[in-house]
């Protein structure tokens, strides 16, 4: 039914091609910005979603860049409610080019897999990884990115840690490749803590932080307080909190960027509203005579109102869909590159649905006043105008 009016609508857009092009391009940019901002927020938030509530992180009270004594491990293990403890240290790994960085942590392999049971790898590979001190557990995304296979020797470089011989190259062997459920982020490498401790040149006996699995999620506060109390008034006091709380706190810090982006996108949308409304108002003014002719031929007032609104919505939907497509394409195309900084950078499905609602709303609101004016147009007056 509506289809028969489409040529009429499309021809209205072709009337001033350059103006239509610029309006559509402006809306495209607005929705591209919205899509990218939504992708960024999704990437920041996805870390919180996968963080376990039953995992605690114990780090230096001053800053997570300050190291903790490796001797804390056994004392933490002795705390009631603690199931497993693994030390972790930021390795600063890169491969081939210093820009190719990815999260890499020396850890206790067995404890690590107990703490992160969602990690999926074959039994055979698990045994092989446990048995090889230079072996590494590599995430599927990293392995795919560089074409690594189990058994490959890889010269991993560290931006922070040097070996006893002064070299920053750490020869590792890919012993296992892991996956995560629901396409979780697998851009990570886990090394043997023992190998790292023995081979590193500096900071002997020190580690970055501890990852702890507790038996009961409801005991998070109690266990955290107990651990921190143990090391109070020591040279290396600790601060313990749940992994989820840490991730949330990180997101909250960078969350302001998200808020700023949202404000910018909001301002851009508002500007687009004015631009589109102006375009529609101009278009209706130029076509006063034609609208009068349509009414003369029998088009009803509500029909003319609907036509102007539909034209406005067509412009915003066209620009909006192109913008969202471009944002989606950027996510697909550059997601792997951005992945080491922003894993999960892509337009989330809820943002796609919201964007369609925004396109419709923008079109209706921008077209409302011109459509109302077109509806109220008196035929005799409209026909007098050229």
């Amino acid at each position: 039914m509506i289809g028969k009016y489409l040529p009429l609508l499309a021809s209205s857009l072709r009337r001033k091609r350059l103006r239509t092009f610029f309006t559509v391009a402006s809306i495209l940019i607005a929705f591209l910005l919205y899509g990218l901002a939504a992708s960024l927020q999704f990437a920041l938030k996805s870390g919180v979603d996968v963080a376990g509530a039953d995992r605690l992180l114990t780090m230096h009270k001053v800053s997570f860049t300050q190291l903790l004594p490796a001797s804390y491990e056994n004392r933490i293990k002795a705390v009631d409610g603690v199931v497993a403890v693994s030390p972790q240290t930021w390795f600063g790994a890169w491969f081939q080019d210093e820009r190719n960085q990815f999260p890499t942590f020396p850890s206790d392999p067995e404890a690590y897999l107990r703490i992160y049971p969602e990690i999926k790898l074959t039994e055979e590979e698990k045994v092989a990884w446990f048995a090889d001190r230079t072996g590494a557990l590599v995430g599927r995304a990293i392995a795919d990115l560089y074409g690594w296979k189990v058994g490959d020797q890889v010269p991993l470089r560290s931006a922070i840690w040097r070996r006893l011989d002064g070299s920053d190259t750490w020869g590792i062997t890919v012993r296992a490749i892991y996956d995560l459920p629901d396409g979780g982020d697998t851009r990570q490498i886990v090394l043997h803590q023992d190998y790292f401790e023995e081979a590193k040149q500096q900071a002997k006996g020190l580690i970055g932080w501890y990852v702890i699995k507790i038996a009961d999620v409801n005991q998070t506060q109690t266990v955290s307080r107990q651990i921190d109390a143990m090391f109070a008034n020591s040279p290396a006091e600790t601060k313990t909190s749940s992994e989820r709380a840490m991730a949330q706190s990180f997101v909250n810090q960078v969350g302001n960027i998200g808020a700023i982006l949202s404000a910018i996108v909001g301002a851009v949308f508002f500007t687009m509203l004015l631009v589109t409304a102006n375009t529609m108002a101009q278009s209706v003014r130029e076509r006063t005579n034609e609208l009068g002719v349509l009414k003369t031929l029998g088009f009803s007032n509500s029909g003319v109102l609907g036509m102007v609104l539909a034209e406005s919505v067509l412009v915003t939907v066209l620009g909006g869909l192109l913008g969202m497509f471009l944002a989606w394409w950027i996510g697909v195309q550059f997601g792997p590159t951005l992945g080491q900084y922003l894993p999960g950078f892509r337009v989330p499905p809820d943002a796609l649905i919201k964007s369609v609602l925004y396109m419709l709303a923008l079109g209706v609101v921008a077209g409302a006043l011109p459509a109302w004016q077109a509806m109220r147009l008196r035929i005799v007056e409209a026909l007098r105008r050229d």
């Binding site: 028969k4 009429l8 021809s11 003369t296 029998g298 007032n301 035929i379």
Partner: protein, 235 residues
Amino acid sequence: MNATAAETAQPIVRIRDLVKDYRRGAEVVRVLDGLSLDIKQGDFVALMGPSGSGKSTLLNLIGGLDRPTSGSLEVEGLRVDQLSEGSLGRWRADHVGFIFQMYNLLPVLTAERNVELPLLLTNLNREQRMTRVAAALKLVGLEHRAKHRPRELSGGQEQRVGIARAIVTDPTLLLCDEPTGDLDRKSGDEILTLLEALNDEYGKTIIMVTHDPHAAERSHRVIHLDKGMLGEGAA
């Protein structure tokens, strides 16, 4: 239908004591002043008169484009002046074809799309619509120009497209506002010949506003208007 047949036919338009006032600021201007008139089915009437005599206003009122201040206006027995805005639109679409001096075609649409416009308001499917469009364009001799836009046509051809658009819904009444006013003599004659054919062969009742005595000669009856009052003469 010839002039004699029209004389014996029933009135298709019956106007009684028609008054139309316009407001210009604080001033009220009476454009039609108690006009009464009958126009019979199948007639071809020319409305003549000086500028501001009210001929275009009368045409607009008969076509339901405007409303009278008082009086009654019946077309085919229907009190047009009493119809609601929505009903008036539907009535226009079904019963009246409009032909304008400046053709008033939509410049972005091809000739056939322009002619199709009134049919978009019907329940006809695309194929049925295009069949009717082709028939209307053939009747005005422009079937070979169906895909051309108005700017690619001469003035006379544009007016023919305007006529095709006016007749595509097969209305009983054709209202023409200076249909030859923007054309040279030759093209104007062709348009008048076409209107005559529509009147004679297809029985359309035609009311034509014109300044041109030559155009008025082609009608069956000339109605003179002056200061909103009636004065009549035969063509």
